[in-house]
Amino acid sequence: MSAKKVKISVKVNGVQRTTEVEPRLLLVHYLRDVLDLTGTHVGCDTTQCGACTVMLNDEAVKSCTVLAVQADGGEVTTVEGLGSMEQLHPIQEGFWEKHGLQCGFCTPGVMMATMGLLQENPEPTEKEIREGLKGVICRCTGYQYIVSAIQDAAQRMAEAKREEKVGTLHTGGGK
């Protein structure tokens, strides 16, 4: 049964959004169905696949395991806020350059998981990348070029940092 709705206010991709939601609404459905940010996908029901990964308060989380109300007062970045065609994020550039995707369904989640990974460890080894990808499942790529993409992205981010090109993450708008 639907319960009484509650008001939540979340800064999503830099924009403050205030909405009334059911307390049981999952963050992923809040993003997809309420805010129309359909870049974040649902791949499983059991928090195994990571297709729904987003950044919540600077941490990579699986948005199918977080209630929208838990994000109240927080900040969320989705793939739509990662970068745009006008200015791709280094992670997006890495995935494009190194063929880190095929069907592209898991890709937004994998890229957000990469963001979490590279925030913790900006210069991961190949082994560390593979371990860092434990929370995501990709059925297409065999992971090899995802690993290459992340290596490429790490390099680009390191360079950008040196050149101080990358500002804060939360700059993009919604769709």
Binding site: T38, T40, E80, L88, C103, K134, G142
Partner: protein, 782 residues
């Protein structure tokens, strides 16, 4: 401009996908859209005594609930689409929703339509179904026995079909110097594309037009069958496969669920969306493999193989799904001799109904099973006569000068050079050194294993007349249109419906190569039946060898017409023109030329065309190949087995594949990597398991091990190129090579490692527990 063919080019389809601008079926939102959810059977076999929806309909937000009974006479059942001839095939149509009986866990029983997702799922819980449980049977061998529960009451011994091909006299085995007899179980696996199935349907009651967006590998096939099921003229049924998140065979099938969603949209006059959740996917989307394969291989002490007899007892599940019957018969049976010149072969296949989810095509479809049995048997044969696995393969390969080669199973391999791939793989692996290292390590109590597999696949499904002869209810040609706009920008329409394989880019490369226009001026469009007249979709690695060939031919036709216009404008004969880098140039007269873009404008303006020529610059091709294509290769796997835990470490994986001409090496490599992950996944980790009462025990990602990044070493993949003579691109299929070649390579490697324990056989998946138990039982050499 250098040739675009063979060039690593970044994918055109990526920008939208990496920026969150993809458009997958569940992303589609229409005004007034409702949401559907299915109630699925919790029993493997039961009579439905009563369904009570009276409480469920009262739930807030519920708009309608449909049961099987509600649809009787309003929708037709969903047929199988592969009536393999000559095998007394007993197909059973499936009701859109179960009516009197359920035949497997996950079969649709009712569908709720509600104002939103959460309301639909709330109401599911309130539907009461009273079942009378019946005895279920899930294993195919048990199902064949007298007295086994019958899945369909009028199908004796649950035998859906018995298919036989080829003949080998008993003497061939009785008189043979060596005969090895092996029995393998190809476990049941779940395709698991990351995007589950989904559908959105919208009906216009004024015009009678129905638009269905759905996760499809072959929208025209879905149109053809759903038009019949829903009684909508094909001209009014538009199927759109938007971005599709992987298929691997699971999205070839024509399922009832999507049709019920469309029925509801028409009935309620409101758009309806359904997205399968992962638990549903495990239960309700077609599974694959599940075959008990018995092999007898006869030969001589010198290693020559002389005869092969194979029996496959295939678990078809509760119904024959769309391609179901063709997989263990045509796709498996015709390929049993693999890369070898075995002069005599015979196959029999028992297709068996059980109370399980239907099985259908899955990456490789029949060929992985076929490669597995022959490659395991060849290793067993080599072991029996004390020959190195490499040498026995060298001895029996079809030699390259024998192509085109007619096999004992009466198929004609188009082209090949099997020794080339094997030599290359051995060189990459440093085979001799590996064998020495293996011996050294054994002395230290460490167990290294080296496994080999060589394979041939049947891909590029066509020709149509063969499809007809083998009972497939589809054509197997492909359609392409190359349309040039007045600006010189080009649209390519293809009837193949790629979903992640990168053909937006490879097809653009083909067209750029032919027309000499920049890659960024070419758009490749697919997946919409109203935009593309006909086509047969993407599966069986047919997209480039058949669909790409159609694109190449259409582009060639455009070039020919453009050349005629250029010659006319330049007032020279066609022979006086040369065309390169997008410029028609009069030979020997610099500057006397027309660009392709100028001709595109001329063609569309039509102010000055050659006498009798129609305006516009567009061409279409309906390419029906003369034969299948037969990619091949050699793979080597190196593992180390931990004797304390049974854990298998993949140390190296080497894949040398020959897929004919490679259009974009980067994309082709990606296909190999993905295929390998799925094949190695089957060898080591994946497996769908049914409990005794027919419950699907492995029903989520928590209890079905999907391969993850840290399971793999760096995969070493290269190509050799032996062009196919059956299409103008010389291309063969690449998508399934890894899945086909890797299970035997991995299992052979593990068994090679376990030789000191006297272990000669284990069935997939080779889980640590299984390997550890076998080692405990096995004897350890002193």
């Amino acid at each position: 401009m250098a040739s675009m063919i063979g060039t690593r080019i970044k994918r055109k389809e990526d920008p939208k996908l990496i920026t969150g601008n993809g458009n997958f079926t569940d992303d589609i939102k229409l005004p007034g859209m409702l949401y559907a959810a299915f109630l699925r059977s919790t029993h493997a076999h039961a009579r439905i005594k009563r369904i009570d929806v009276s409480q469920a309909v009262k739930h807030p937000g519920v708009v309608a609930i449909y049961t099987g009974g509600d649809l009787v006479g309003r929708m037709k059942s969903v047929p199988t689409s592969w009536y393999v001839p000559g095998c007394n095939l007993k197909a059973k149509d499936r009701s859109p929703l179960a009516v009197d009986k359920v035949l497997y866990v996950g079969e649709g029983v009712a569908m709720v339509v509600a104002e939103d997702r959460y309301a639909a799922y709330d109401a599911l819980d309130a539907i009461e179904v009273e079942y009378e449980e019946l005895k279920a049977v899930t294993g195919q061998e048990a199902a064949l026995k007298d007295g086994a529960p019958l899945v369909h009451e009028d199908v004796e011994n649950n035998l859906a079909f018995l298919w036989k091909a080829g003949e080998v006299p008993d003497e061939a085995f009785a008189n043979a110097e060596v005969v090895v007899r092996e029995r393998y179980y190809e476990q049941r696996v779940v395709p698991n594309p990351m995007e589950t199935r989904a559908a959105v349907a919208q009906y216009n009651s004024g015009s009678g037009d129905m638009t269905m967006w759905c996760t499809s590998q072959n929208p025209h096939i879905h149109r053809m069958v759903y038009a019949e099921v829903l009684d909508i003229p094909e001209s009014k049924l538009r199927i759109i496969a938007p971005d599709v998140g992987g298929g691997f065979g699971a999205k070839i099938g024509v399922y009832a669920d999507e049709a019920v969603v469309a029925y509801a949209a028409r009935h309620l006059k409101r758009p309806v969306k359904w997205m399968e959740d992962r638990k549903e996917h495990f239960m309700a989307t077609n599974h694959a493999r599940d075959e008990v394969i018995e092999v007898e291989l006869a030969g001589k002490r010198d290693g020559t193989m002389t005869a092969l007899r194979v029996r496959n007892i295939a678990n078809m599940g509760a119904y024959l799904s769309t391609m179901g019957a063709g997989v263990p018969t045509i796709c498996f049976g015709l390929m049993v001799t693999g890369a070898y010149a075995i002069p005599q072969a015979a196959v029999e296949v028992y297709g068996v109904y059980t109370n399980t989810t239907p099985t259908d095509a899955y990456r490789g479809a029949g060929k992985p099973e076929s490669a597995y049995q022959i490659e395991r048997a060849v290793d067993a044969f080599a072991r029996e006569i004390g020959m190195d696995p490499v040498e026995i393969r060298r001895k029996n390969f079809i030699p390259k000068e024998k192509f085109p080669y007619d096999t004992a199973m009466a198929v004609t391999y188009d082209s090949g050079d099997y020794m080339l791939t094997l030599d290359k793989a051995l060189e990459m692996a440093n085979y001799e050194d590996l064998r020495r290292e293996q011996e050294e390590l054994r002395k230290q109590g460490r167990y290294l294993g080296i496994g080999l597999s060589t394979y041939v696949e049947l891909c590029g499904l066509g020709p149509s007349k063969v499809a007809g002869a083998i009972g497939l209810q589809f054509g197997q040609w492909e359609n392409a249109t190359v349309r040039v706009h007045p600006s010189g920008k080009v649209i390519v329409l293809t009837g193949a419906s790629p979903h992640g394989q990168g053909e937006d880019t490879t097809f653009a490369q083909v067209v750029a190569d032919k027309l000499g226009v920049p890659l960024e001026d070419i758009e490749v469009l697919h997946g919409d039946t109203q935009m593309i007249p006909m086509g047969w979709g993407t599966y069986g690695s047919r997209t480039t060898p058949v669909g790409g060939a159609a694109v190449a031919i259409a582009a060639e036709r455009v070039t020919e017409k453009a050349k005629k216009i250029a010659a006319h404008e330049l007032e020279v004969s066609i022979e006086d023109l040369e065309f390169s880098d997008g410029v028609f140039q009069v030979k020997g007269v610099p500057g006397h030329q027309r660009t392709f873009q100028e001709i595109a404008r001329s063609a569309n303006m039509a102010w000055n065309l050659p006498e009798g020529m129609e305006p516009a610059l567009e061409a279409q091709s309906f390419f029906d190949p003369s034969n299948f294509v037969y990619p091949f290769g050699a793979h080597i796997c190196v593992v180390e087995v931990d004797s304390n835990t049974g854990q298998i470490e993949l140390k190296r994986y080497i894949a040398v594949d020959d897929v004919g001409r490679v259009i974009n090496p980067m994309i082709a490599e990606g296909q190999v990597h993905g295929g390998l992950a799925q094949g190695i996944g089957q060898a080591l980790w994946e497996g769908a398991v049914y409990g005794e009462n027919g419950q699907l025990v492995s029903g989520t990602f928590m209890d079905y091990t999907m391969p993850k990044a840290d399971f793999f070493p760096v995969l070493e993949t290269v190509f050799t190129e032996t062009p196919s003579p059956v299409n103008p691109l010389g291309a063969k299929g690449v998508g399934e090579t890894g899945t086909t070649a890797s299970p035997p390579a991995v299992v052979n490697a593990v068994l090679d490692a376990l030789r000191p324990f006297g272990i000669t056989h284990l069935d997939m998946p080779l889980t640590p527990e299984k390997v550890w138990k076998a080692m405990q039982k096995g004897r350890k050499e002193a």
